[in-house]
Amino acid sequence: MSSKLLKFARPVDVRVVLFVISVALFVIGAGAPAATGG
């Protein structure tokens, strides 16, 4: 799935993937939404 996405965007640097992971980690760490199964 992810390889298809990368292909879709054409030459994508590995650094971009790491960058997206960093962004995701940042919002996980900075955010505080409360989601429970109830």
Binding site: F19, S22, A32
Partner: protein, 194 residues
């Protein structure tokens, strides 16, 4: 989770834009990106790995939250002029301030929980207790500082998962989207950023 939805949406939109405009996604250099991993790792362990998180005493959670977010504040300041970081920084500060003002916990009210789970009676929720393995503590409105920055907004009814989120979470979502959107900017704009 709304924050990861914003990241996914931002990534999808920027990839579509790159495709339509025949651009290559460009790396935006972020200073001290290693700091994000170091700061967020304790949170991942405490909040997102239930088997380990349950073993961590609640008394330690405020220390994990505040120290971890302080590191992220430093990271945000170091990258303040990168795309999206004004919104990301504002969202982080909003959550950080309300968490710090309430003893290291994100407050959530019984009223919000009752709206989230209408099938549960209001007395199901115990004030002063932690909400599952989340960053939230159930607090009485009278004891909550800066309640307007707390988890008080809900997604529309009918979605598969109930989520309460804060103003800071909204700003973070906007910032994450803008940052990812900037990956498919024109070459000239990219050079100006990096």
């Amino acid at each position: 989770m709304i924050l990861l939805f914003a990241v996914t949406l931002g990534l999808a939109c920027t990839m579509v834009r790159a495709r339509l405009t025949h651009r290559t996604l460009k790396f935006v250099h972020l200073k001290w990106d290693w700091l994000v991993i170091i700061c967020v790792l304790p949170q991942i362990i405490a909040f997102y790995i239930p088997a380990v998180g349950k073993a961590i005493p609640d008394e330690i959670i405020p220390f994990i939250q505040i120290s971890s977010m302080l590191g992220l504040v430093i990271f945000s300041l170091a990258n303040l002029f990168s795309p999206g970081f004004l919104a990301l920084g504002a969202g982080l500060m909003s959550n950080f301030i309300v968490i710090a003002a309430n003893g290291g916990w994100m407050p959530i009210s019984v009223d919000t929980l009752t709206r989230m789970f209408p099938h549960r009676p209001a007395d199901y929720w115990i004030i002063g207790s932690r909400l599952g393995q989340t960053k939230d503590l159930i607090m009485a409105p009278a004891d909550t500082r800066l309640a307007w920055l707390s988890d008080r907004f809900l997604l529309p009814a009918g979605l598969p998962q109930n989520v309460a989120f804060s103003l800071g979470d909204v700003l973070l979502s906007i910032g994450a989207f803008l940052l990812l959107w900037s990956l498919s900017r024109k070459e000239v704009e990219v050079k100006e950023i990096t």
